[in-house]
């Protein structure tokens, strides 16, 4: 078998272990229902360590819900999620079924995960520095000086050291999103989740955020990204999963998926982007 074929098997979530480049987060048989509405159906996915996985799919296909399940912001109704081998929220029972894990365990496993939202969700009553250092103080128990020093160095990484003392309302959308990234990074997560991090930004502010994310990817951060920025996905993602109506229609290496979108739904989906960007390039 050729390597790309192997990688595709890798992503089924059934194979692969914890070796280097192994699986960081594994989802098996996950389902999620809101009221009558089954939003995710028996999803299997393995997020590989050290690379970027992009989740694509039409609006309403369940991308955000899947990402929120990975952070245990939504409780899944069936299935198991493991983060570096440790179960998140529910553990499989030996005889079948699942066991609700205690809150403390959820908190501990969730430490491995950082999340960046579409709406930034910065706390408006704290400066950029306050936003980034808050959890360092309260959760890590660092002293104010230590926390702020550490926060400052993370703000530097997203190139915002000079905006540390500004309130969110005094920052542009792109800057706000970079602070939100810094806030998540400061807790040193092993996996970063991004839910459409640029889609509430003006097109020209999108660049600065994508560039920070590109850097993170180059540094080997494990990332799961929901995005409509096909260009970014094609450039940066190693793995791609395509969701449609709550099911994973296909997953594979990005270079295969974009080069020959063999599934008709995916081809349609990419078409809408091509339609709107192609003319420039001819």
């Amino acid at each position: 078998m050729d390597p790309s074929g192997a990688a595709m098997t890798d992503l089924t979530g059934k194979a692969a272990g914890l070796e280097a480049g192994g699986v960081a987060l594994r989802i098996e048989g996950l389902s999620k229902t809101f009221g009558q509405n089954t939003v995710l159906k028996n999803v299997d996915l393995a997020v590989r360590h050290g690379v970027v996985t992009c989740l694509l799919g039409p609006s309403g296909s369940g991308k955000s819900t899947l990402l929120r399940c990975m952070a245990f912001l939504e409780e899944h109704d069936a299935g198991i999620i493991t983060v570096y081998g440790e179960p998140l929220g529910f553990a499989p029972k030996p005889g079948g079924g699942r066991l609700r894990l205690p809150h403390a365990q959820v908190v501990r496993v969730r430490r491995a995960i950082g999340m960046v939202f579409q709406q930034f969700n910065l706390w408006p009553h704290m400066t950029a520095l306050g936003n980034v250092s808050e959890a360092l103080k309260r959760v890590r128990g660092l002293s104010r000086r230590e926390a702020e020093a550490r926060a400052m160095s993370v703000l530097e990484r997203v190139d915002l050291a000079d905006r540390a003392h500004h309130y969110p309302s005094q920052l542009s959308g792109g800057q706000q999103q970079r602070v939100a990234i810094a806030r998540a990074l400061a807790m040193e997560p092993r996996i970063m989740l991004f839910d459409e991090p640029t889609s509430s930004l003006d097109p020209e502010l999108t660049g600065e955020v994508l560039s920070v994310m590109r850097h993170l990817a180059q540094e080997g951060m494990t990332m799961v990204v929901v995005t409509h920025e096909i260009g970014f996905a094609a450039q940066v993602a190693s793995d791609v999963a395509f969701l449609d109506k709550g099911e994973i229609l296909l997953r594979g290496l990005a270079k295969d998926v974009f080069a020959k979108p063999w599934h008709p739904r995916l081809a349609d989906f990419l078409e809408t982007y091509l339609d709107r960007g192609a003319a420039v390039l001819v």
Binding site: A71, R110, M115, P124, S169, R183
Partner: protein, 220 residues
């Protein structure tokens, strides 16, 4: 019609003493009302089904009946269930309970108006519920409820005029008594209107100042 300006001038010291009592009952009762309202709002948000139901009823009754009737029942009815309060105590408690019902609703709405994502961000970062309430929800909510809280305080100020029925010598009682004693009703009413209006304007100005001071935290 001629106004007896002399009488107005001579009444001012007594009126100011009444105003002092009004302001004392108002600020004291209002602050306690806010504190109780806050606890009720938290209990209704995080408490179990019983707590929620148990609190919803009294809040609705307190918001649905005139302050005058509540005060009367508390003061004149209290002794029948062994609650014997002196006028100031009853006035203070009545104001606090009445205000608390309103504040609990204002604060509940405020807590709900904080975007869910701000709380989720805290959850993912590992802040506990208590930390999230204390560090995120409460400060953000404060900003959101400031205008309606100031409004409520002003309503409460004017409601304190009713305390006269339980013999608390507050502004309205004192000034109308002066008017009756000198058969100068219009003068008394004008003086009364002026003093209340002055207190309300001062309170509104203070509120506007607070809001302006907090403006930079506000997302546009």
């Amino acid at each position: 019609m001629t106004l007896d300006l002399d009488l107005i001038l001579h009444s001012i010291p007594a009126a100011l003493r009444g105003a002092g009592i009004t302001v004392m009952m108002w600020i004291g009762g209002g602050l306690v009302a806010f504190a109780i309202g806050f606890l009720v709002a938290l209990a209704r948000r995080y408490g179990g089904g019983w707590v929620r139901w148990g609190l919803a009823g009294p809040v609705e009754v307190l918001r649905g009946t005139p302050f005058l009737i509540q005060l009367f029942l508390l003061y004149y009815g209290g002794p029948f269930i062994g609650l014997r309060l002196e006028p100031y105590e009853a006035g203070f408690l009545g104001t606090a309970i009445y205000g608390a019902a309103y504040f609990s609703e204002i604060i509940r709405a405020g807590l709900e108006a904080v975007p869910r994502g701000h709380v989720e961000a805290a959850t993912v970062l590992g802040l506990t519920r208590t930390q999230t309430v204390a560090r995120i929800l409460v400060p953000e909510m404060t900003l959101l409820i400031l205008p309606s809280s100031i409004n409520m305080m002003i309503i409460l100020l004017k409601e304190t005029a009713v305390l006269s029925i339980i013999t608390v010598p507050e502004l309205t009682l004192v000034v109308t008594a002066i008017g009756s004693a000198h058969f100068a009703f219009v003068e008394a009413l004008l003086l009364l209107a002026l003093i209340y209006w002055g207190i309300v304007e001062a309170a509104s100005a203070l509120g506007r100042g607070l809001e302006a001071g907090l403006a930079r935290y506000r997302m546009v």
